[in-house]
């Protein structure tokens, strides 16, 4: 598969135990021209991503990457928080613990606005936290987070550089290693994301859906149609 095919569409993996919510998120993502795969549990998500229990100890080996080949490249994972078994938070954690999955951006969705939950997820490395029901305006915020592994197979041949890059990302948290990372995995987006994560606790304009001060977020005013005003007539 050439680079042209990989660039054509971003592939999003959506995880939710509710069938209705899976249908919804799939439609929202397809409307935004993403390729979508949906699964109904965290464990199936990890399976799809190519992470099996037995491989966790061997993350720096070539065989792990080869399973996650070009045709199942995932550019973003969006997951529900409340799921039986493995929660969205557990899934997030597992992905961040895996050296070949941690670069995939993760977005969490939840029907409940619990600030401590939201903070926990953001601190663990989630890019965004969306309140359900998810809207098109939320999905529009995903594009900047999309990560492309243009040369994922080539990276496997240079395992040392990849590991070095990851350690630096954890310790330095600056953009100084972009020069090196550019050569390796085109991880511009990823470094920017790390910066955003760290610098962003007081910056709501970057699209973080913390929703703690719900009255201040302009695009989710949650109007309810209890009276005559603001009725919208639909005609196709």
């Amino acid at each position: 598969m050439g680079l042209a095919a990989a660039d054509a569409q971003f592939h999003v993996l959506a995880v939710d135990d509710s069938l209705i919510d899976r249908k919804l998120i799939e439609r929202l993502l397809k409307t935004s021209s993403y390729q979508v795969t949906t699964v109904d549990s965290g464990s199936k998500a990890l399976e799809f991503l190519g992470l099996n229990e037995v491989e966790i100890g061997n993350e720096d080996e070539a065989c792990v990457c080869s399973k996650n080949s070009q045709d199942v490249e995932v550019n973003l994972v969006i997951t529900d928080y409340c799921m039986p078994g493995m929660t969205g938070y557990d899934l997030l954690k597992k992905m961040k613990e895996s050296s070949f999955l941690r670069n995939i951006p993760v977005v969490i969705m939840s029907s409940e606005n619990v600030p401590s939950r939201i903070n926990r997820c953001l601190e663990e490395g989630a890019e965004e936290f969306f309140l359900k029901p998810v809207r098109l305006s939320d999905v529009n915020k995903l594009r900047p987070h999309m990560v492309k592994k243009a040369k994922s197979c080539l990276d496997v041949e240079k395992p040392e550089k990849v590991e070095k890059l990851e350690i630096q990302e954890e310790e330095l948290q600056t953009t100084q290693q972009t020069a090196q990372s550019n050569n390796n995995n085109n991880n511009n987006n990823n470094n920017n994301n790390n910066n955003n994560n760290n610098n962003n606790n007081n910056n709501n304009n970057n699209g973080k859906r913390k929703s703690m001060d719900e009255g201040h977020s302009p695009d989710r005013t949650r109007q309810r149609y209890n009276n005559n005003s603001d009725l919208i007539f639909i005609s196709n």
Binding site: I20, C82, R224, L231, S235
Partner: protein, 171 residues
């Protein structure tokens, strides 16, 4: 004649929708569903709503089965069902049902069985009402689609003349 039908049916649909919004039965999220429907996914709303009906009826049966038992004590299980019902209702914009679920869950959290039974009855009522209204909505929509696409060969010329006469502002 056919042109009139389409307009009248469209007006009927809008009137029904307006009523449902006014009553708080539906909220903004239902509009979001409609906006996601297009040529590439022309039955999206009815597909999702039908899944909702199917799941809801199962949940209602489960809730009733739990509460019918006088010795019932598994409020945690009831809470799980309610969370699911709340989530799916919220996802399709069934605002009143969702609100009843909230009250139901409050009763459940207090282990208040009579309160739960009352809430369940209200829930069943609201669900029936919504189902009837949405069926009505889909029926009107189907009729409108039919009216818009049916062309009788003999009347085609006549119809075209009529269309020219009544070129109202089609939204």
């Amino acid at each position: 004649m056919l042109g009139l039908s389409v307009e009248r049916l469209r007006a009927d649909m809008n009137r029904l929708l307006a009523l449902l919004f006014h009553q708080g039965v539906l909220d903004e999220q239902f509009l979001q569903l409609q906006q996601l429907q297009d040529e590439s996914s022309p039955n999206f709303v009815s597909e999702v709503v039908n899944i909702y009906f199917h799941e809801s009826e199962k949940l209602l049966r489960n809730l009733r089965a739990l509460l019918v038992d006088k010795e019932f004590s598994d409020y945690k299980k009831m809470g799980t069902h309610l969370n699911q019902f709340m989530g799916s209702s919220s996802s399709i914009g069934a605002q009143r049902i969702r609100n009843v679920c909230v009250a139901f869950r409050a009763a459940s959290d207090q282990n208040n069985r009579p309160g739960c039974i009352r809430a369940l009855e209200l829930l069943e009522y609201e669900y029936c009402y919504l189902k009837n209204k949405l069926h009505e909505l889909f029926q009107i929509e189907q009729q409108r689609i039919l009216a818009a696409t049916v062309r009788y060969p003999m009347q085609q010329q006549h119809h075209q003349q009529q269309q020219q006469q009544q070129q109202p502002n089609n939204p």
